[in-house]
């Protein structure tokens, strides 16, 4: 795509709002979204979505909601009735990018992106993960008990186990290094007032936790949370109207690797590498380690953080584990990673993971992160993955 990427029109994040980030919330999910939207619009200088917003992007995946056509239930609570609106079934960052592209194509000036999770309502998350597999070549490896209609034959986290196994084998990373990621992110979460799972663990706690699918332990996997994030974006000319601290979108990229798990590169995060390259190119970044100050990357499984950091060329292949062990990625380290606590510390928000990462980056860049504020925050990176068993990811780079 030589020479095709260009952010001719600068875009700023002018408002962020969130709600939930709890293992369980009593509100209906639309009430949760309304709450986050109120905060985001207030944050954007008290805009009125009925007047000031040109378009809305929703992010949802049907069966995480238990609704077919989740988009039906989208317009009311964000103020999108009779307004241009579109929905993507992708990660939150892809929704964010869709909104950027609508602004850059010239039809919208101000856009709102919303993503949420109400995973506590899904009583059969694991059945659903199996339901995402190819029905011909992969899914029949599991049997469904005709009486209980429950699938049996191994936890679907075995796909994370396979990926972790290959990643460790290819790079020589150790399970202790993966455990260190868990320890770090849970500790960071202790400093984050809206993180659901702050905790003081040790590497031994992680390594000695129950084996789900060797080499993956129970504590290597992030726990779930309900929550919603709403982001308000605006083109350069209007952004200043809404806020004194616009956070600029410097670059973005998204990529999908393959629809065949058999062909997936299990040791590497190829989709992250390509989305990262796209975003760096757009942002004019040659040396990410030096030019980006901190990152919120996908850590729904501990090894993913390391794998993604390497794919993003922040660390060399096989080096991320070592640097995590040396505390380089701690909040006060040279390159803080997931200072907010990440998905491990804040809870896995599924479709909303990407926007949660963006929220974390925006707070840092505005110096509003309080106890988990990193010392140098000029340029930050957010990256997310759609979770097992997918091979899709997205990256965005934000700066002051």
């Amino acid at each position: 795509m030589e020479g095709k990427i260009g952010l001719e029109r600068k875009i700023a994040v002018v408002g962020v709002g969130w709600s939930g980030f709890k293992p369980f919330t009593t509100e209906e999910y639309r009430e949760l979204i309304f709450e986050a939207a109120v905060k985001a619009y207030e944050d954007a200088g008290g805009i009125n979505p009925r007047k000031d917003v040109d378009g809305f992007i929703g992010v949802a995946e049907d069966l995480w909601e238990g609704i077919s056509i989740a988009d039906e239930y989208y317009p009311d609570q964000v103020g999108a009735v009779f307004k241009p609106e579109n929905s993507v079934s992708a990660d939150g960052i892809v929704g964010f990018i869709s909104a950027c592209m609508m602004i850059q194509s010239g039809v919208w000036d101000t856009a709102v992106v919303e993503a949420h999770s109400k995973i506590s309502e899904v009583l059969s998350v694991n059945d659903l993960l199996l339901f995402a597999l190819d029905p011909v070549f992969n899914r029949p490896l599991w049997n469904v008990d005709p009486k209980t209609k429950k699938p049996v034959g191994g936890h679907p986290y075995m796909f994370a186990g396979l990926e972790m196994n290959r990643y460790l084998a290819e790079t020589g990373t150790t399970v202790e290094q993966c455990a260190k990621v868990v320890v770090k992110n849970y500790r960071n979460a202790l400093k984050n007032p809206f993180a659901a799972y702050g905790s003081n663990l040790t590497v031994e706690d992680v390594i000695c936790s129950k084996v789900v699918s060797h080499p993956l332990k129970e504590l290597d996997a992030s726990k779930f949370a309900d929550g919603c994030v709403v982001v308000v974006l605006a083109g350069e000319e209007v952004a200043k109207k809404y806020t004194d601290t616009p956070i600029w979108v410097k670059g973005y990229g998204f990529c999908s690797e393959t629809s065949w798990l058999e062909c997936h590169d299990w040791g590497d995060s190829v989709y992250t590498r390509i989305s990262g390259e796209m975003a760096y190119k757009m942002a004019g970044i040659k040396n990410p380690r030096k030019e980006v100050n901190f990152a919120e990357v996908d850590d729904t499984f501990s090894y993913k953080e390391l794998q993604n950091l390497e794919a993003l060329k922040i660390f060399g292949r096989g080096e991320a584990g070592k640097f995590v062990e040396e505390n380089l990625t701690a909040i006060d380290g040279d390159f803080p990673v997931n200072p907010s606590g990440g998905s491990l510390g804040q809870g896995n928000l599924f479709c909303a993971n990407g926007l949660q990462k963006i929220l974390g980056v925006v707070l840092q860049l505005r110096n509003e992160a309080g106890k988990f504020q990193v010392s140098k925050a000029e340029v930050g990176l957010a990256q997310a993955w759609r979770g097992i068993p997918t091979t899709s990811g997205a990256v965005t780079i934000l700066g002051r």
């Binding site: 009593t26 509100e27 009430e31 238990g66 317009p75 103020g79 029905p135 469904v144």
Partner: protein, 173 residues
């Protein structure tokens, strides 16, 4: 179709080909379980249905009463302000007579009238009203008319569980 394209791909099958196992298939009985939060608005709505009452939310700005209730007014985009009980009577805004069951193939033995009930609540904005979908009862399908006055027939209190089906149906008055 373009005149430039002569052949369109695809192998059409008949149901017998699949049932008669002429082609290979895999099966998956999905049985996904959910427990959805009713939340603040609908939670209260269900509780009141159990009490034999219909409750709505008022938006003081546009003056509408929202039923089913919600905690936000989508039109003014602000939180709704208070709870209000309304009568269980209304008129038929539109109706239909269904011959099909939920699964889309089973035919009902007796055709059943259904309707959007416009509850007796003052309408403040044109084209918006308070009401919901429900069954009609104690009326022959051919006798149902637009604008017909109807009233809710409730299940006996001990059978109510806090569900939309605590109302058995609406009947003409």
């Amino acid at each position: 179709m373009s005149v430039k394209i002569s052949k369109y791909p695809g192998v059409g099958l008949k149901e017998e080909d699949i049932k008669g196992k002429k082609v290979l298939t895999t099966v998956w009985p999905c049985n996904l379980k959910y427990s959805w939060s009713a939340g603040v608005a609908v939670g209260r709505f269900l509780t009141e249905l159990k009490n034999g009452k219909i409750i709505g939310r008022v938006c003081k700005k546009c003056g509408r009463i929202l039923i089913p209730p919600r905690m936000y007014c989508e039109w003014c985009w602000k939180p709704t302000d208070e709870w209000v009980y309304v009568k269980d009577t209304g008129t038929i805004n539109t109706y239909a007579i269904t011959h099909l069951a939920t699964d889309g193939v089973t035919r009902l033995k007796e055709p059943m009238p259904i309707a959007v009930i416009q509850l007796d609540v003052p309408a403040k904005l044109p084209r918006f009203f308070a009401g919901f979908l429900h069954y009609l009862g104690e009326v022959k399908p051919e006798d149902v008319k637009f604008g017909m006055k109807v009233k809710a027939v409730w299940k006996p209190p001990e059978e109510r569980i806090g569900s939309i089906t605590d109302i058995k149906y609406f009947k003409p008055v």
